[in-house]
Symmetry: D2
Subunit: 410 residues, 4 copies
């Protein structure tokens, strides 16, 4: 009354916790195992290899366990090609579809292992000709050939980096009790190093970046070439423009005084941009002469302003359709090496859903819940920094200036 199969795993099985997690998972799910072969890398630079027999209660149970192990990098020993089934209708998925992790993934197609493009969690794999692509459910079309089951699917979870870098030593940290200034310095070094190697950095920002007075620091980072993509919403852009036009942010002046006129400046700012037709036009007309949006447009870096039901206006550049906005975000994030999430739960989690697990991800928020939720939702590679973005960003800009010797990146 049981079903068995052989699986194998290889790589740094021990030090990256992978074997442990796999055996743990089998036992938690009520399965059993026998280790058939286990070659341990005797030194840290040698990979290990394990082959084990997995025992489930019945075929369904075995498949459930295989599903979970697959996400950890295990594969069936006698690997066959992936199995494909057509989507019965637009946005309707075949039974037993393979749901992606955010790790690099390969499928065996006609005897050959090919990479799956666009690693991203909670998608389907659609095969077309000899290529395969992570595809969100809303892009599934009737007849798309979708991978089902775990047969012929292999994922490669990231190994724990041994280099003594910031992202190496801090793993899954969400503590406010760290030496803040020193950590800002280390992040600055990471950013300068990433840019030095030609990497791309995305800033994902909430409106508190402007409220807390950090807008000039972010504008400077963009101007100096450290930010390659900006993802945000209507509020950040309006506050940034309001600040340029009236010196206020949601009616509060730059000293923290709530000024007369209150929310009206916010609406005026929107109206001015609409009168010009776009933020870009308003800049060309000389209405706006600085700030975050100004630097983005002058520098020509891509930005996505995604709509939300809290928006006033919104500005012409805002993508009000959330499905289109998400697609635009995914497009803008292509090739990004580092993601700096600052003071936004909504955009951080939405962006986390779109990023492969090898992107260095830093989440800065004064509310520890933002970081916890980001990780709970699958962005396990994120490092949380519980601090005040209003002091963090100016310090970061200053440390980057020092670390980068002030040299602008071209």
């Amino acid at each position: 009354m049981s079903e068995i199969c052989d699986i194998e795993m290889e790589g740094h099985l021990i030090d990256s916790l992978i074997l442990t997690k796999a055996l743990d998972k089998i036992m938690d799910m009520g399965g059993e195992f026998e280790i058939k072969e286990f070659t341990v890398g005797k030194r840290k630079d040698e990979p290990s290899h394990v082959r084990l027999t997995l025992i489930g209660k019945d075929p369904a149970h075995l498949n459930q366990i295989l599903d979970e192990l697959n996400a950890l990098g295990a594969r069936l020993v006698d690997s066959e090609d992936v199995r494909l089934e057509p989507a019965p209708s637009d946005m309707v998925v075949p039974r037993g579809f393979y749901s992606t992790t955010n790790h690099p993934t390969y499928i065996r197609l006609r005897g050959t292992w090919i990479p799956v493009d666009g690693s991203r969690m909670d998608c389907l794999i659609v095969v077309s000709g000899s290529s395969a692509r992570c595809t969100p459910i809303h892009h599934i079309k009737k007849g798309d050939m979708v991978v089902v089951g775990t047969t012929g699917v292999k994922v490669v979870p990231p190994e724990r980096p041994r280099e003594k870098s910031f992202f190496g030593f801090m793993r899954n940290e969400v503590s406010s009790e760290r030496p803040s200034v020193e950590i800002v310095r280390q992040i600055a070094e990471e950013i300068v190093a990433t840019k030095g190697k030609g990497g791309r950095i995305a800033a994902i920002c909430g409106p508190a970046v402007v409220h807390t007075g950090a807008a000039p620091a972010l504008a400077q980072l963009i101007r100096d070439g450290y930010i390659d993509v900006l993802l945000s919403g209507n509020a950040l852009a309006v506050h940034d423009i309001e600040r340029q036009l009236f010196g206020t942010s949601l009616g509060m002046d730059m000293k923290g005084n709530v000024t007369s006129g209150g929310h009206r400046n916010h609406l005026y700012a929107i109206s001015e941009i609409i009168a010009s037709g776009s933020i870009e036009n308003a800049i060309n007309e000389g209405k706006i002469r600085g700030g975050i949006m100004y630097e983005c447009i002058k520098k020509g870096i891509p930005f996505v302003l995604a709509g939300s039901i809290r928006d006033d206006g919104p500005l012409p550049e805002v993508i009000t359709d959330t499905v289109k906005a998400k697609d635009a975000m995914a497009e803008a994030l292509k090739g990004v090496d580092m993601a700096l999430m600052m003071a936004t739960m909504l955009h951080s989690i939405a962006t986390g859903n779109l990023l492969p697990s090898y992107v260095k991800t830093l989440c800065v928020d004064i509310n520890p819940a933002t970081v916890t939720k980001l990780m709970d939702r699958g962005t396990a590679q994120a490092i949380g920094l519980v601090t005040d973005v209003g002091t963090f960003l100016p310090m970061l800009a200053e440390e980057i200036r020092k670390a980068g010797s002030g040299s602008r990146i071209q």
Copy 2:
């Protein structure tokens, strides 16, 4: 080198703090005043009346002060008609437009005070014929006659209720140190009393309502007729349907175990509904036999599911355009007497922006920041309850059952 004018205020000026706030504001803004006439209501049921001369540094300064006082209910003594100016273009506002509060508002049009329809903060007042309407900036059309300045505009802030009701004694509270069970009982009584008087109640909910196991309690409240409108997003509906179809919520079963298959059930749930064409069809086909969305549709109560960039799918009923979603929310909220906001910062603040200040508003969240931000954004009438929606809602449903003697409202 100064500019003066006379203003008057009347009502319960003293006990509702209004006069104090007005004089405070004048002094904070650097203005001066002389009290010309002051008739104090000698007993608590008599209104007071005050007339004072306001002194500003120059006309602009005086106008800034008048703007602020107007929001507190002051009006110029020799009231003239409102001043109107046409909007120069779609979504472009005339200089000096009047920005609304969320209080009931009146304008003097051709010598008569008329009410402004659709009280809601941060809007413009558009006059058409003999009626006036609060209009958000995105609905302003070229040529709309928009109120500018404060002349001929009168607002009526709510007086502090003296009845010994829940909403009377708790004002602007954001404490977690209150007797929880007792407070749940009082809220239950308010809900039963509101429904007894034929009032309408809106539930504004985040997906944590399902994660924390409170979905059956909310479904019961809807079935028993205590909820008249549901505002939420894709996530709540998918989790609710996933729970009905698979007994899980984002892959976690109802005991709190993370189950195999993880996020796949979430995508299956979406796929099943898309295959049926809509949630309603899926119910009619018998796919879904209970839960929050089931009860809404069976009971015929209006619901709005607003899109967000975090959504998978989304479900067919979700309004993905955020501007349209906001309009649908405003429409659904018409005539609502009480708003129960539960476990959602995004929808709570968005809804708060659409509600007049006389709607009894309760915001339940485990994170005190949600309540603080809601109030910071202008929904000053909200009462915060820092508690766990997963224990709050089942207790509330039970107390309502007791308070309502189990009698279903028809």
Copy 3:
């Protein structure tokens, strides 16, 4: 079936909200009032005067209302001397004792109004000869003459400052959405100004000041003469000393790495001090050459290290008896003009209980709950700053250096 009396209030009754709160309170408590006489200060620099008849249901009810009004500054019209009763036993209070506010308080003794020394909340007033003193319950001795009832007691709540100072414009704020760097600058100016006027500043600190890397900044402020009193506990002192001796804080090095040896350095630090006999001896022996405690002792400023059940050791200077520690804190706080509470809920609330309401109080914490609770417990004058002490303190030290032109205060 009712009881009446006449009361009067004077001062800036309107703009400081006092009259409003008084009438509000009467109505909330089910009392009634008639305003007999009301002279309004016509301009902002003129005081107002009101005389009203208060109506309660019975003598007990009237007394309850008088109790509350007294705390707002009201007094009976035909003032009599205070009534005194002897304490029946040590720490046992006479029925109906007067419980103090944290506002300056006067009593009428043999026809003369005399000030009560040592304003502090939740104490009793003990009269001895012709002087009166706020006395905590644990210092009440058998036979002490204790003020009972509100007759002959007058309190003077602080008026809202109109100067455009930091403590003037921010009242009861607990928001993380303020321009952080600008606010740090304003606080720096306040500190420099306070010291310029010969004021005394107390720092109340939790151990996170050391963990977050802010210890050198605090040490510098002490060395430069900006801090006059330090209140803290065993943990801060041990972490500070551990950092000096081993370069770690609770086993974490100054780069944020958790080092080998872990908690052992913490115990070694304690052991080293105990071997020397005291922190002071260890400094004299040259074991410790810098840090917070070093600067306190070198500068000769008083510090209190209060014991807690979380302590290891503790160090010899720690006062392990909490009653004695509280008395030592009260003593050290005498004459303090400003209190900087940083990263500690326990010490902030304990200190708040000991401070008169006119002390400028700033509470810096990354957790908004600390500030909220501090105010809920009666320290209503506190301004909350939700930020990261690890970035706040270094910035503050730098801004003070600029604002003070680097000139050390002698």
Copy 4:
């Protein structure tokens, strides 16, 4: 230029993550290793055994690594007896002392492995005759024979329980997004099961238990025999007694209304107990007829009320010396199998420091930071439940009543 030694580990090395953590730690610290022998438990019920050569840069480096590995359960292959050194003075520790974990620990003394009594973190091991004891630094006396180094010391970290119990499946969780009611039910079952097996349960409580209206539920649990020890402070006891005497808690009545008299009831409550001489006397005199303290005393269960600098009074039973209070807590916790920490950061962390790692520890708080800090400070076995104690405790008492079939435990 390197130093080597052989170590071995045995047990469920793989599925309990222990081997992985050990190799990870070696590499993180810059050491190297070669696996000499590795016998894998082929099935889940077979233990594994590993023997590896550890390579450090020099003796000091090797010792640092051994320190860390020891805490994970590794021991030197050719085990020798522990090394002992006398304490040079009271509270002064010998160089290189062994700092304890909270896991069960054994030492090799004259060729025999003997258990170390009183497992508790951050202590020293003192050997006396043929027994050994975890001893906090403040109890170290001159001449005590203290274990130094890791030679001859073995710890046994807990294995991950495979039974499907509440404490088995939830590990290190700090999420507010769990099905609350269901989780309360599971905790109730654990409590009933623990008592059924003759286990002892400690309740560690903050005053919010009374403020939030949960005192009657806790009193009922004590009365019904589910609580064996109560650890708390002055505030909880005073609020509980104030509630019994006056129906208020810190001046707030049981409906959540702030009542007249405010803080005075709090002081009266203290005064009444002091007049009686003790809480017990007050109960015997009939002053107090119910509540938490009443049930503790009537049931004869031990309680410790530890002093804090926030206390008023305090009550006669309060231990104001924090060192003595901590000792009393350690004594009361002996033999405890489960710890329920509710709404207190101070007492939770202090108690966590005193508990061995095998005690089932649940920490209930509305603030996720309490749970995070408890784990950061070493109580890694704690499970966090982010919920409202005011709804949690009444629900728990009700579920225990059901689960325990109402049968009182004798």
